[in-house]
């Protein structure tokens, strides 16, 4: 006999209730990057728009940065940490693979026995986490979900690679997602293009060190082993990001029933100002739309970039609570996620 199973009771809709960010205290200007590569401040700015980025010190671990960002998001949402029912952290730079970073964060923030896990969705991590959170809240598995992007990409940067040394930054961005009577997160347009998985990747897998075949491992000028780093095929990424992701962004607008003129804010993944500017042009966004360009002073912080940019736009008054924002993340995988949200 098939017994009748009682389903969970969720909320009709979900929304972002609060946002918080943490940027490491040390600001790294282009001049510092130029100690290691043959380039110039002008070249870096013209190719990326990046003038400065933040790099974490030894005390600014992923957990510490996440706890700072999470605390602000919880306060901004007007809830308490013990109300958080799930913690979802997207990161590619948590080097302690087990246990998940999220369990430490849940425990130390005071979220009790909240469900806690990490996801690896590269620079689309925020959108992936947001999609999971929305599902949990509507389905009834959690009332409040903490979604975090946290990265120390400086740990995965090859300082001698002149095409990427200047790109990456560190930081954590967090949001609290909770129940809503009104739709405040649109349909997610998300997916992967695994045939392009080699376009952005770690230089060598961790077990490359265990295998010990030194000929397969990257060496520096002195023949010493180089720690794995992120590498990418810049032109391929640029073409995909600008032209394919503009289509995804448009699909997210269409799916949410939002016309460009109804949009207040555009928060793309902060990869590179050139990508952002080209996307804005390709999407034909109206002049009145505020565009996040946080990458100029934060660098590319992967999954952390969208919540960090969101927090800064709200904190500086360039965007306000209740604004309608298009968010889109895209990166290693290749993976992407776009949706329209009401800002907290």
């Amino acid at each position: 006999m098939t017994a009748k199973i009682k389903p969970a009771q969720g909320s009709p809709y979900a929304r972002i209730l609060g946002v918080g960010g943490y940027r490491p205290t040390r600001v790294v200007p282009n001049e510092e990057i130029l100690k290691h590569i043959d380039s110039s401040d002008e070249w870096i700015r013209s190719r990326s728009g990046i003038a400065t980025r933040h790099w974490a010190g030894p005390e600014e671990t992923l957990a510490e940065m996440t706890l700072e960002a999470a605390g602000k998001a919880v306060a901004d949402a007007g809830i308490t940490a013990d109300q958080v029912g799930a913690v979802v952290i997207s990161t590619v730079s948590h080097f302690m693979q087990t246990p998940a970073l999220a369990t430490e964060v849940a425990d130390r923030m005071g979220a009790g026995k909240a469900a806690a896990f990490d996801i690896n969705a590269g620079c689309a991590g925020f959108g992936y986490g947001l999609t999971l959170a929305k599902g949990m809240i509507v389905e009834g598995s959690a009332e409040y979900v903490l979604v975090v992007g946290a990265e120390r990409l400086s740990d995965l940067t090859d300082l001698t690679d002149r095409s990427t040394a200047f790109l990456f930054g560190d930081g954590a961005g967090a949001v609290i997602v909770g129940p809503s009577d009104e739709p405040a997160i649109g349909p997610s347009i998300w997916g992967s293009e695994g045939d392009k998985r080699d376009v952005i990747a770690q230089t060598v897998p961790w077990d490359g060190f265990r295998v010990g075949d030194v000929s397969q491992l990257p060496l520096d000028e002195d023949g010493a082993l180089k720690f794995p780093a992120l590498r990418q095929e810049g032109q391929t990424v640029f073409r995909w990001a600008v032209f394919e992701m503009a289509k995804v962004a448009q699909q997210a607008l269409d799916a949410a029933g939002i016309a460009p003129e109804d949009l207040d804010v555009f928060i793309p993944h902060q990869a590179n100002v050139r990508i952002i500017d080209s996307m804005v042009k390709t999407l034909k966004l109206p002049e009145h739309v505020t565009v996040a360009r946080d990458v100029e002073t934060t660098g590319n912080t992967s999954a952390a970039s969208i919540p960090l940019a969101m927090e800064r736009l709200l904190a500086t008054g360039k965007a306000k609570s209740g604004d309608t924002a298009l968010v889109i993340g895209f990166g290693a995988g290749l993976v992407y996620a776009a949706t329209v949200v009401t800002l907290p």
């Binding site: 013209s46 190719r47 032109q235 073409r239």
Partner: protein
């Protein structure tokens, strides 16, 4: 109908003007995109995508790096146009 090399160069001129702000008449066969026309590697991607649309060709990323001069691009388009 297939376009001529002359038409392709004129079209590339308009594209480069639109993307990089270089006068269209400066776009001549023996000019290098990077060295003479100030089209950097990222702008080159935009030029290529615009050329694909305009001339109905596909220019894969692996081939883009071989298009150093306007002549390289025009010849590629001539050869591959449907």
């Amino acid at each position: 109908m297939a376009v001529t090399q002359e038409e392709i160069v004129a079209g590339l001129g308009e594209i480069v003007n639109e993307i990089a702000g270089i006068p269209a008449e400066d776009v001549e066969l023996d000019k290098s995109f990077t060295d003479d026309l100030d089209v950097d590697s990222l702008s080159m991607v935009e030029v290529v995508v615009a050329a694909e649309e305009r001339f109905g060709v596909k220019i894969p990323d692996d081939d883009v790096k071989n298009l150093k001069t306007v002549r390289d691009a025009a010849d590629y388009i001539l050869k591959h146009q449907s």
